[in-house]
């Protein structure tokens, strides 16, 4: 059965936001890194990843229903 995540990209990463991000399909065993590659986000533009409100690593495995948020480095004042 297909699994979906709710995807949110912040700041400069919004340009990579796919159609239907609020219900974005993932494949079994997908990691955050696999997801970012599929979205075409350069790895050096990824700084913070949150899944269900908790910071995780690139190697974290995603599951259906996860809320995923990705931040680039942000330093403006």
């Amino acid at each position: 059965m297909a699994a979906y995540i709710e995807l949110k990209l912040f700041a400069s990463l919004k340009t990579y936001l796919p159609q239907g991000a609020e219900r974005f399909p993932i494949q079994a065993g997908d990691t955050v890194e696999a997801l970012t590659k599929r979205l075409g986000i350069p790895l050096d533009e990824v700084k913070l990843i949150f899944v269900n409100g908790v910071k995780v690593q690139m190697s974290s495995i995603l599951g259906g229903g996860d809320r995923v948020g990705i931040f680039p480095p942000v330093g403006g004042g």
């Binding site: 700041a11 400069s12 700084k47 409100g53 910071k55 480095p73 942000v74 330093g75 004042g77």
Partner: protein, 289 residues
């Protein structure tokens, strides 16, 4: 009569009866009467205000704060010292709020001067002030809105050498810097000084804010290794807008006042992320429990 008792008596004599909008009575003292007391008793503004609060009298300028803060809280704020590093979009708003809240001693740090491109978001930047040092304009603004506050300016960029003397005995430091490198310098100095730090950063209409105590992992949880970072982040391509800088500055002040008043800050080990594009905001855990 001891000096303190004489001062307290003088304060009570010039204080007047007043009521809050909900009808609660309080004793009030006006600025002109406090100024007179300062002259007669050789006090500075914040000392006179602290004396009034200790005598149970509210300096009228803080009257609308007193339903949230007790007299003791307000006196604590007036005794507190906050170091604000960076007088840009975040810093200008932070300084404005701290001065209005009556945080008694402000250490203001920035080596920069105002430029036209600052006008879109930096509240301290005005057309007549272009080219002037940011800290000078900040001190001018504080003096105009709350002359009781003691301001110490440092027209310098923070570095490892000057940070300890600039921070001094600050009760809280607020990171209002741009870029990454200097944030780590500030964090290192606050850790050495045992001083809590509140830190925010923005890009476009997004941003985040956190609170770091000296023993906490801190910025590395947000940015990773300092050496791995570019010179600037997403703000270099998106710019910065006043809606987000002002909102995050307010959150920084909220955390800072909680720390000053010994209340539990809400963003320790956590990061509040905000995106005004979709009005989304969420508090994230930076560490798993």
């Amino acid at each position: 009569m001891p000096v303190k008792a004489a001062l307290s008596k003088a304060i009570c004599q010039v204080s007047t009866r007043a009521t809050h909008p909900d009808g609660t009575p309080y004793r009030s003292i006006r600025m002109k009467d406090l100024e007179q007391l300062c002259q007669e008793h050789g006090l500075c503004g914040r000392e006179a205000e602290i004396s009034a609060l200790e005598a149970g009298v509210v300096p009228e300028r803080y009257a609308r704060s007193m339903k949230v803060y007790s007299l003791e809280d307000q006196a604590t704020l007036l005794r507190s010292c906050v170091c604000v590093v960076g007088m840009g979009g975040l810093g200008g708003t932070v300084v404005e709020m701290l001065a209005r809240l009556g945080v008694g001693i402000l250490l203001l740090v920035d080596g920069d001067t105002f430029d036209e491109s600052n006008l879109n978001r930096q509240f301290l930047c005005r057309e007549q002030g272009l080219g002037k040092p940011k800290v000078q304009e900040a001190a001018r603004r504080v003096g105009a809105i709350n002359s009781s506050v003691a301001v110490h300016t440092h027209q310098a960029y923070l570095n490892e050498d000057n940070a300890p003397s600039i921070l001094g005995d600050s009760d809280v430091a607020i990171d209002c810097l741009g870029g990454f490198k200097d944030r780590f310098v500030l964090e290192g100095a606050t850790k050495k000084a045992g001083c809590p730090l509140v830190s925010a950063a923005v890009a476009g209409l997004s941003g985040h804010v956190t609170t770091i105590f000296p023993t906490d992992p801190g910025l590395q949880l947000i940015y990773g290794d300092a050496q791995s970072l570019p010179a600037a982040g997403a703000e270099s391509s998106l710019g910065c807008l006043p809606q987000i800088t002002t909102l995050l500055a307010a959150l920084e002040c909220s955390e800072a006042t909680k720390i000053l008043l010994k209340k539990r800050p809400l963003l320790r080990h956590r990061l509040m992320v905000i995106d005004l594009d979709d009005m989304g905001g969420e508090v994230m855990d930076l560490q798993r429990d």
